[in-house]
């Protein structure tokens, strides 16, 4: 499918390790301001897909373009939110959040003010001087998010950022993420294992299949925004989760059996 004036445009992306195609011939467009979730069974290449867009890995063939420019390595036009928070333990919350601008070499008073307001946005007002080891898992992921936003990226890439959190904290973080995202409506790619998380957050869900990794279906989510948590109990929501689950169920079974040997 083609979106006119796509923000992100992926064409014929293939990634192979030796003989194995982790991703095969993926072509997809993402419009500006869209929130996309990527779901699929383990080993479907969804994280690899995100890492290639982030410039952390190279595609074997095919291209990804951001605003028309071919992606060829990492850059501050993208903000990557890692699965494990990866905060630098010797830096305070503020100084962790500032690392992107610092690397880019554009730190000044105004920039610092912006980062402070981002910390306020993610709910860490008053924690700027804390070291990561004094924070809870949820708070650390908020810093992880603020750090990615601090470079004011065109594209926000999130790799299962809530997977290490307990179920309750995760639900809260989902609503928080939506609240923060509504502020700037950045184009976002969000990889997750949780189907209900994908449906709750997204405008569209890319369902990946495995062996080889490819997009087997794109499911539009037309639930109205803003979405309160209670939307998860609505029948449309449940129907969407059910539909996506049916799409990947067979693949998940196959991957579980394979892992069991």
């Amino acid at each position: 499918m083609t979106v006119p004036l796509a923000k992100l445009s992926v064409a014929g992306m293939t990634k192979s390790f030796q003989d194995l195609d982790v991703l095969r011939d993926i072509s997809v467009d993402v419009a500006k301001g869209e929130f996309i979730s990527i779901v699929g069974p383990s080993g479907c290449g969804k994280t690899t897909f995100l890492r290639i867009i982030g410039g952390l890995e190279k595609a074997t063939s095919g291209t990804a373009r951001l605003d028309g420019r071919v992606i060829d390595g990492p850059g501050s036009d993208r903000g990557f939110v890692f699965q494990h928070d990866n905060l630098l333990p010797w830096r305070t919350v503020f100084s962790n959040a500032q690392i992107g601008p610092e690397i880019g070499g554009y730190v000044n008073a105004e920039q610092a003010k912006r980062t402070h307001s981002l910390l306020r946005l993610v709910g860490l007002d008053g924690f700027a001087g804390f070291f990561p080891r004094h924070l809870s898992g949820g708070m650390r992921q908020r810093v992880n998010l603020a750090r990615a936003l601090a470079v004011d990226p065109d594209l926000l890439l999130m790799d299962e950022p809530f997977s290490a959190l307990d179920a309750q904290t995760r639900e809260i973080m989902q609503t928080e993420l939506l609240r923060i995202w509504e502020e700037g409506r950045k184009t976002a790619l969000f990889v997750t294992h949780q189907i209900d998380e994908a449906v709750y957050l997204s405008d569209r869900v890319f369902v990946f299949g495995r062996r080889p990794g490819r997009i087997s279906e794109i499911v539009p989510i037309d639930l109205p925004r803003p979405r309160p948590l209670s939307v998860k109990r609505r029948p449309e929501f449940v129907a969407l989760v059910d539909r996506i689950w049916q799409l990947i169920e067979e693949d998940v079974r196959a991957s579980v059996l394979e892992e069991r040997g």
């Binding site: 494990h84 990866n86 630098l88 830096r91 690397i103 470079v151």
Partner: protein, 279 residues
């Protein structure tokens, strides 16, 4: 920022019975241990035992000196200006050698991580020399460089540099790949990766190596001076031994012990200031 500090206080306060003398002593003892800590009591107790043994059990000036005699010797040596001279010489030797070893050790450790060729060329030498008891080479350095300060500095450098090299290397190698990838995702070049991730993550290791170097450096100074020198605490010790002046010998040892303790705890303090993110 303030981090709440929890102080260890006994949850069950001791209830003193006024009528019981034992309870009174117990309470006093508890108050003392709480005020000064068990280490102070242990040290003071040890000094008292030492004093008693050297006064009544050994009671020979040729073999042992009592703490009070050592204190007297210290005062006497200081009044004559002799002690200051020895300390100054030994301190010069120690700090020059230590500074050279610290800077060179960190630099060599970095080369070992940064360059595969450098690593291959340096590794056999480092493994070999580290495994050798290098103090045994002190007479050789004295033969080469004379009995002055230079030969002592070389011995200190040789002893201190290895733990610094090895720890710097180990610290840089344990840098988390995830953290490196994180700063790379923001477009960091290799210089920025080194300065913002590898180096800070290696600092605790480098500090540990430098701390190990303190004790080794002090050994180096004394041993090198024992083999031949004009002045220094090692020279004071060997000269006192030759004249069976036990109080002066122990005075030299006491200064060295105090220096070791002071520098190590100074280092711990510095570490806490420079690495506040560590436990």
């Amino acid at each position: 920022m303030t981090i709440p500090v929890t102080t260890k206080t006994p949850t069950m306060p001791f209830v003193a019975r006024r009528t019981s003398v034992r309870a009174g002593i117990h309470a006093a003892f508890k108050a003392v241990t709480r005020r000064f800590g068990w280490s102070t009591i242990s040290v003071l107790g040890g000094l008292v035992v030492w004093e008693l043994i050297s006064r009544y059990l050994v009671a020979s000036k040729l073999f042992l000196a009592a703490p009070t005699q050592i204190a007297a010797a210290l005062i006497e040596l200081a009044q004559g200006g002799e002690l200051q001279k020895h300390i100054a010489i030994s301190a010069l030797e120690f700090f020059s050698g230590y500074a050279i070893a610290a800077i060179a050790g960190v630099a060599i450790g970095m080369v070992m991580v940064g360059s595969a060729v450098g690593k291959q060329m340096l590794q056999p030498w480092i493994s070999g020399i580290y495994a050798t008891p290098t103090v045994a080479l002190a007479p050789l350095f004295i033969l080469w460089c004379g009995i002055g300060v230079a030969s002592k500095i070389i011995v200190v450098v040789v002893l201190v540099i290895f733990p610094v090299i090895i720890n710097t290397e180990a610290g840089l190698l344990t840098t988390s790949k995830d953290l490196v990838e994180t700063v790379r995702s923001f477009g960091a070049d290799s210089r920025q990766v080194f300065l913002k991730v590898s180096l800070p993550s290696a600092l605790p290791f480098i500090f540990a190596g430098l701390k190990l170097g303190i004790g080794r450096g002090l050994i180096g100074v004394v041993v090198a001076e024992l083999f031949g020198s004009r002045a220094g605490l090692g020279q004071l010790i060997s000269q006192s031994a030759e004249t069976f002046n036990m109080p002066a010998l122990f005075a030299g040892v006491a200064i060295l012990a105090a220096a070791g303790i002071a520098m190590t705890s100074g280092f711990t303090w510095l570490e806490r200031r420079l690495l506040p993110w560590k436990d």
